[in-house]
Every structure is written in C-alpha cells, then in structure tokens.
C-alpha cells in the first residue's frame, strides 16, 4: 500500500472514530436503565411519558407550520425574482443569508424585547415561534427553492401556461411547484431537522417543544436523556436520508429535455 493511501485511511479512520464513539457510548449508556441488565427501559419510559408526546407533537407542528409558511413566502418570491426582477437577485440573496449573521440567542433576544411590549404584544402567540423558525430556515429553504428554479426554464414555462389560459394560482400550483418539488422537499426536510431539536427559540418564547423537554429531562433523569439524544439523532439521520433519497432523481434533470 502506498504511503499516501495509508495516511488517507488514518484521517478517515480518526473521523469515523470521532463520529461513532459518542454515538455508540450514548446508545450503550441509554441501555443501562435497569441495574445489571441491558434493556430498552429508558426508551419505554420516554415514549410512555405523556409530556414526551405533548412536546414532540408540538415540535412537529412547529416544524410543519414553518415549512408551510416558508413555502408560501419563498416560492413566489424566488419565482417572481427570477421571472421579473433579475436585477434585485443579489439583494434578495443577501437578505436570505442574513439569518446566518444573527445567532439564535441574539435573534430570540431581539424577538422577546421587540414583541413583549406595545405596540405589538404578540410574544405569547405561537405564530411568533413559527415565523421565527421560518426566518431561521430561510437560508436553506430559499436557496433550495432558488436552485430548483435555476434548473427549469421559468419564463418559457410561465408563458406556455399563460397562453393555455392559466392564471397565476394555476401557474404556481400546477406548473412551478411540481417542477421544483424535489428542491422544496429537500429544503423542507432540512427545516424539519433543524426545528425538531431546537432549544433556544422554543425555550425563550415559552412554548412546548422537544428541545426544552429534552433539557428538562436532562435535569432530572440519568438514562432517559441519552435515549432522547439517540431518538433525536435518528430523526436527523432520517431527515437527511430522505433528503438524499429524494434528491437522487437529479433535480431538474427531467426538465432539461423540455427547455433546451
């Protein structure tokens, strides 16, 4: 074996160790809930806990709502910018990256301070959390949608649909959206993965969510938190896996034949 190859294996091997040792250890730890015998007791405890169901389903609701709001706002915007306002594209792209500049704790600090006093006392509304998550996921969602749109010929498709008598809702729902569904799904699963375990926003906006629930569990229990960490990891893994699986159909690959 060449020396270079040996080095390569070494670095990859170290990466694999760093990646898997904490997971394996956490899994092993989560099986120790019964004295001297390995069991899935901690998972049973978590899954049977009514608070788990409540918080977990709340997080699913936040995630799905943030995805819907995101699709409703970002798809028409990205579409409109591509079709009619190519000149403002750099500006819009810049804006969509802004959430990277604002760390979650600073963001929530701003939200709490802004919306917990007149004229806008909406701090208690769950909508604020949903909109916050929509903003947080914007860099991923908008970019995914924009990449999807790049692969299709937006002006031609729009004209074709309009000359067949389609109005704007029809163009959006039956022409644009189906053509970028892979991209939208990709962005959606990423958003889902981000929102599901999110702690900072949920805890300061005082809403039931999986993240704060896990934290509370960590304060009072020994083995259940590891079970939650494994569940959470499995969720991330599933979201990423589905994303890659869906993305295999080469975004836009089919469309090329029609446009060019």
């Amino acid at each position: 074996m060449r020396r270079g190859t040996l080095w390569s294996w070494l670095w990859i091997g170290l990466g694999v160790i760093y990646f898997f040792v904490p997971l394996a250890a956490t899994f092993w730890f989560s099986l120790q809930a019964k004295l001297n015998v390995l069991s899935f007791q901690s998972y049973v405890n978590v899954l049977k806990d009514p608070d788990f169901a409540k918080n977990f389903s709340a997080s699913v609701l936040w995630a799905v709502s943030a995805i819907i709001v995101g699709v409703l706002i970002f798809v028409p915007t990205a579409y409109w910018v591509r079709l009619r306002l190519p000149r403002v594209r750099p500006a819009v792209e810049f804006v969509t990256l802004l959430p990277f500049v604002v760390p979650a704790i600073v963001f929530v600090y701003g939200l709490v301070r802004t919306f917990s006093r007149p004229p806008l006392m909406i701090i208690n509304s769950p909508l604020l959390l949903v909109f916050g998550y929509t903003i947080m996921s914007m860099p991923y969602m908008y970019r995914a949608v924009d990449t999807g749109l790049r692969a299709i010929d937006v002006p031609v498709l729009t004209e074709a649909a309009q000359s067949l008598g389609a109005g704007w809702p029809t163009v959006m729902l039956r022409v644009v959206l189906p053509n970028i569904r892979v991209a939208v799904l990709g962005g959606s699963f990423l958003t889902f993965a981000i929102v599901m375990g999110e702690y900072t926003l949920a805890t300061w906006l005082v809403k039931p969510a999986f993240g704060p629930y896990m934290y509370e569990l960590g304060q009072s229990r020994a083995y259940e938190p590891s079970a939650c960490a494994i569940i959470s990891f499995a969720l991330t893994w599933a979201a990423m896996g589905i994303m890659q699986f869906v993305g295999r159909g080469a975004p836009g690959g089919v469309q090329v034949a029609a446009g060019h």
Binding site: T26, T77, F131, I135, Y199, P225, A229, S232
Partner: protein, 271 residues
Amino acid sequence: MPFFLFILFFLVYPSSTLVIGSFRDDAGRFTFANILGLRDPFILGAYAVSIRISLFTAVGGAIFGFLMAYAAVRGGLPSFVRTSMMTFCGVASNFAGVPLAFAFIATLGRTGMVTQFLGAIGLNPYDAGFSLYTVWGLSLVYMYFQFPLMALIIAPAIDGLRREWREAAENLGGGFFDYWRQVALPILTPSILGTTILLFGNAFGAYATAYALTGGELSLVTLRIGDQLAGDVGNMSQGLGYAMALGMLVIMAISVAGYTLLMRQSERWLK
C-alpha cells in the same frame, strides 16, 4: 411583496430594536453608557472566552476537516468512502444543541461510558484534570459539528484542483512540497480561510449546546445574553444586554463579510 414585509417585520425590526436599545438608558434617553459598559471585565471576559473557543475549534476543525476531505477526495481511496463521508458529515454538522450535549455527557461525562472504560484500565481522564464541563470539554463537543462542516464545504474546492496543475508542477521539476507550497495552497487558501471564518461564527453563536452541557456555568457571551433574558443579572441594566447582543451581531457581520469576500476570491481559480 409579502417577502419584504415578512423580513422587515421579523428580522429587520427586531434587529433595529437591538441597535436602538444599545444606545438608550433605562429611562429612554440617548446614551453611550451601554456600549462603554461592555468594558466591564466580566463581559469582556465572556467575549474573550467565546472568541477563544470559537477560534480554537474553528482552526482545529478546519485542519482536521481539510485533511479528512482531502483524504476522501484525493487520497486514492475507494469512491464509497467519499460518498459515505459526505453523508455522515451532513448528519453530524446538523447534530447540535441539547442532544449533542447529552451524547457527550453520556460519553465523557463523569460517569460516561468512555470515562468508565478509561477508568477501568486506570486512565480516568478526570484524575488527570480533564473535565467535560470546561472550555476544553466544550471545545471537544463543538468539534463534533465543526470538522464535518469543514469537510462538507471544502470537498468541492479540493475537487477543483486540476490534475494538470500537479502534472505541470512535476514537469517543471517541482516535488511534493513545491506543488503544495506554490500551487495547491495558494489556490485553496481563500476557501480554507473563508470556511474557517464560517466555523468561527458557527461556534461563536452556539447557545443550546453550551447551556445544556454546563448549565450556564461557563462564561460565554451567548450564555450571558441568556441570563439577561432570564432577568438573572443582578445589577446590570437592560441596555447592557442590548449592547452585548449588538456586539455579537457586529462580530458575526464581520466574519460573514470576510467569508463572502474570501469565497469570491476563491472562485477565480476554482469552478
């Protein structure tokens, strides 16, 4: 456009509250006292620790992530190594916050599995002064999402190194080190630096991981801002909280600007 209304309302408006709040005293008058108040050693210390952790994990993550990405892309390994590495890195770089902290507590906490194992063979890291709940421990935890992010972002750049360049260097009589020093590194430097800055911001803004791991014991800016929100701040004025948040924003804005500039630079040769 609903998009701009939305952004204005939920991103620009709260940010402007931060800026305005930073220059107002508790009675609502204009003041520089909050900004000057940042010189408080307690707050400066928090910034220093945050910056140190972020720098350390950014540089460490960049080096390790680069070596791993290079090994997977150009190391002469079977191609499945690369695809699986990218998948794993995608997952790991998104695995952060509370569950990540729990995973490391179960691994290297005082009763963690690896700690127990090492203890059983007489090498308990806690006897040697190690603790997961310190700056070093937290750095170890951050590394878990830092180096995969580096590998993810840098791999396409490594792809962009053309084989012809290496051959050309060899034809001109250059060896391994000449190629790296005079060709590959100058081309990759903007990408590497840019991504390192991105990693810096990534660690600098992290809150949930640090909070779940140390329960707010460590002095980080993000944790101090959390204290402000909780109202658990003793004699500190609210304006100081605004100023701390604004300080973070400024540092983040500088890093993202640096990242953008460097990435533009790197497109000269790559892609």
